[in-house]
Symmetry: C2
Subunit: 194 residues, 2 copies
């Protein structure tokens, strides 16, 4: 069974999903490590579901440095949602961090699949609930939390990321220097450096 | 017509919603200015829709200071989504910033209304898509943007907040001193103070 169908079943707790019909709304694409799936400033015509691999979403800040806002591992969805839904150009780039296989859906097919299949509505509603809860936590972490607490929480919520994301990219994502992250990973940093 | 029904109609672009039946899943409550709707650490048994007024979601940091993460004006939803969906205690407090009228729904009724009415699934899916897109923008703003750009963007996206939220709370939310916010509002701050 395809990974997306398994995920829908898991989230919705239902079975009897018409696999082939659902998958016909999507296109499978593969990308090499470091390949760009979506360029910042280009039309955003795909919403990606990670079948295997890892994506990151980033933008170039005013100094030309890449700032990573999100990662997506298997079973995660990624796009510039605002651009995808409105037809505007993407404010972000999306890049493969590893050799990655995704399912892509266009805005038109996304509308279509939602309108035709109530269980898909239900699936995305649940996916967004989780994404929204995670983003609230993320805002809490990056706005106010001491760095070492932030790291511990991040580690407990997303242990896979710690293993799979290169140190340098992870450090930038967390707002740490690579050296500080390295110290945290060795548990050398005491817990009161707020 | 009730404000919630109007909002569902607007978001879903549909009509013929069974008003009374839908509203029977909710309870109307009113709160005075500064009254607490949800205490941090208490069971999270309500999801709030703002009919009139303004809410804020905050937590106490390790120094005992209130840190505001979100506001909700009319037609916005607010809860600790993670706690609401899992039955855990709320990690946040919710307070009325003005005299406020809300609709409340319990976790059980939320499950029920979603399972009974496909258009409610569709409504919440759309609400979360927007909330999720907004949270991505928020993360981008607070992590990397120069303060004056952040303020301009916030002002353009949420002009109502600037009018209705007390300066002191807004300054704390934006991570500014009240003095700096006051200068920004007078347009005295130049645009290169990154």
């Amino acid at each position: 069974m395809h990974r997306l169908i398994q995920h829908i079943q898991k989230v919705n707790r239902n079975t009897g999903i018409p696999d082939d019909l659902i998958l016909s709304f999507f296109e499978t694409k593969t990308f090499k490590k470091k390949e760009i799936l979506q360029e910042e400033g280009e039309r955003c015509s795909s919403y990606f579901f990670v079948v295997k691999g890892c994506l990151r979403l980033f933008f170039l800040d005013r100094n030309g440095a890449e700032q990573t806002l999100q990662f997506a591992l298997e079973d995660w969805w990624m796009t510039d949602m605002d651009a995808f839904r409105t037809g505007r150009n993407s404010a972000y780039s999306i890049q493969a961090m590893e050799a990655t296989e995704v399912l892509c859906i266009t805005p038109a097919n996304y509308e279509l699949i939602l309108s035709r299949f109530p269980f898909v509505e239900s699936y995305f509603r649940a996916v967004y609930e989780r994404a929204y809860a995670a983003s609230l936590l993320r805002i809490r972490m990056i706005s106010r939390m001491p760095k070492d607490e932030f790291y511990k929480l991040f580690q407990s919520k997303y242990p896979d990321f710690i293993q799979r994301i290169p140190q340098k990219v992870l450090a930038s994502f967390l707002g740490f220097t690579p050296e500080y992250l390295s110290e945290l990973r060795k548990n050398k940093v005491k817990s009161n450096n707020s």
